[in-house]
Symmetry: C2
Subunit: 103 residues, 2 copies
Amino acid sequence: MYIAMNRFQIRRGSEDEFERMWKQRDSHLSGVPGFVEFHLLRGPETESFTLFASHTVWESLAAFEAWTTSNAFRAAHAQAGQNRQLYLDRPHFEGFEVVQHLR
Amino acid sequence: MYIAMNRFQIRRGSEDEFERMWKQRDSHLSGVPGFVEFHLLRGPETESFTLFASHTVWESLAAFEAWTTSNAFRAAHAQAGQNRQLYLDRPHFEGFEVVQHLR
């Protein structure tokens, strides 16, 4: 299992607009091979920003990499770069392999 | 839903030992009210460390907070502080509320 995470520094006061933007978009993820689930996460606040993270679980790194070169990926990111005023900094990508899983 | 994450900077070359330590420990999480699942994640590498994250999903922030004051929490963390030589820096905690969930 592989988790692709993007971390976003969102300016204080812009959190609701950022959340609305995500809820309104079409993720183009449903039905993509190897896609397991997606979460948008709201994390800790600092004086200047609130940390958000998008968190997408894939069956494997290979499934994630295949998606990044697909038409679904291009469609999902066609609007990226809009609403720049919400962000304090560029998104920061981190990919994780699952080492251990407990239920 | 609430996700409690701890980020660990593990010295290059110590990754296998760090993973072994987690796999051998007793998490004391099974049966804790509100516990959903746990992942240990291995993330990107820099010149000096590999980023790992522990990633625990809870039904709610309240369930997580109740656990942090429980005997199970104390038992799970009784060994914390050992193996300091594996770490480049202190663990860094981040808690996240789930804003959106897609399957």
